[in-house]
């Protein structure tokens, strides 16, 4: 039995761990957001004020980063299971990778820049 499975950064065991870790983070983030939106009136002022704090910007950035990792691993498993022709699978994976990477570039641009308050 191999015991060094976690040393491969893209191995199955590591992916499994990434999925769980990101899931835990996202649960807490969603609980914060749900608590906030249910207790405060949802208007632009409160929303903008809430999201403008540095803590929330960094947390949101981390949230989207983790979500994209989570989504990427998940989608790869789905295409691996259902799309058998290798070329088709890899082209679809590449398109999805481009979409996720484009979001990774777009998000810091809007989140860490100045909001037009």
């Amino acid at each position: 039995m191999k015991k060094v499975t976690l040393k491969n950064p893209f191995g199955g065991m590591t992916q499994w761990l990434y999925q769980r870790f990101t899931a835990f983070f996202m649960i807490f983030y969603f609980l914060i957001i749900a608590f906030y939106t249910l207790t405060e009136p949802f208007t632009f002022e409160t929303w903008n004020y809430f999201m403008s704090s540095l803590t929330m910007r960094i947390t949101t950035m981390a949230f989207f980063f983790f979500m994209i990792i989570h989504a990427w691993i998940g989608v790869q498993h789905v295409t691996d299971d259902y799309i058998k022709p290798v070329l088709l699978k890899w082209s679809i994976n590449t398109i999805f990778l481009i979409i996720t990477l484009a979001q990774m570039v777009y998000l810091p641009y809007c989140l860490l820049g100045h909001f037009h308050a």
Partner: protein, 121 residues
């Protein structure tokens, strides 16, 4: 060697409740992934200015977008709750057949209930 018999006729296979939750977890994940660009764009759009925010709110009340939004709300709810169940199963909680069936039914009902509540509001 004798070839293994397979029955993959979707009409005759009996899907237990946990299997349905599992496949819906996967499907909702794919739905969320496909709508992710729209989510990120709407998120950034809502923070641009008050006009943008109100514009977005009025856009959401259009029925095609509202339908898509409801699909997204259901997908998020189901993925969230089924994911929590999955994490509990990983921790050896609720692994018994009876408990697993009960929690899978609970997951389905709660996600539909929340979607219905959001639809009313």
């Amino acid at each position: 060697m004798k070839k293994q018999q397979k029955n993959l006729n979707l009409m005759t296979i009996n899907f237990p409740m946990p299997a349905i939750v599992s496949i819906l977890h996967r499907m909702s994940g794919v739905i969320i992934f496909l709508l992710l660009p729209a989510i990120t764009y709407a998120f950034c759009y809502s923070l641009k200015s008050k006009d943008h925010f109100l514009n977005l709110i009025s856009m959401i009340s259009l029925w095609p977008i509202k339908l898509l939004g409801m699909l997204l709300v259901w997908g998020l709810c189901h993925h969230f709750i089924a994911g929590c169940r999955h994490l509990l199963l990983d921790m050896q909680i609720g692994n018994d057949l009876i408990v697993a069936r009960f929690t899978s039914k609970t997951v389905l009902t709660i996600s539909f209930l929340i979607t219905f509540l959001v639809f009313i509001l």
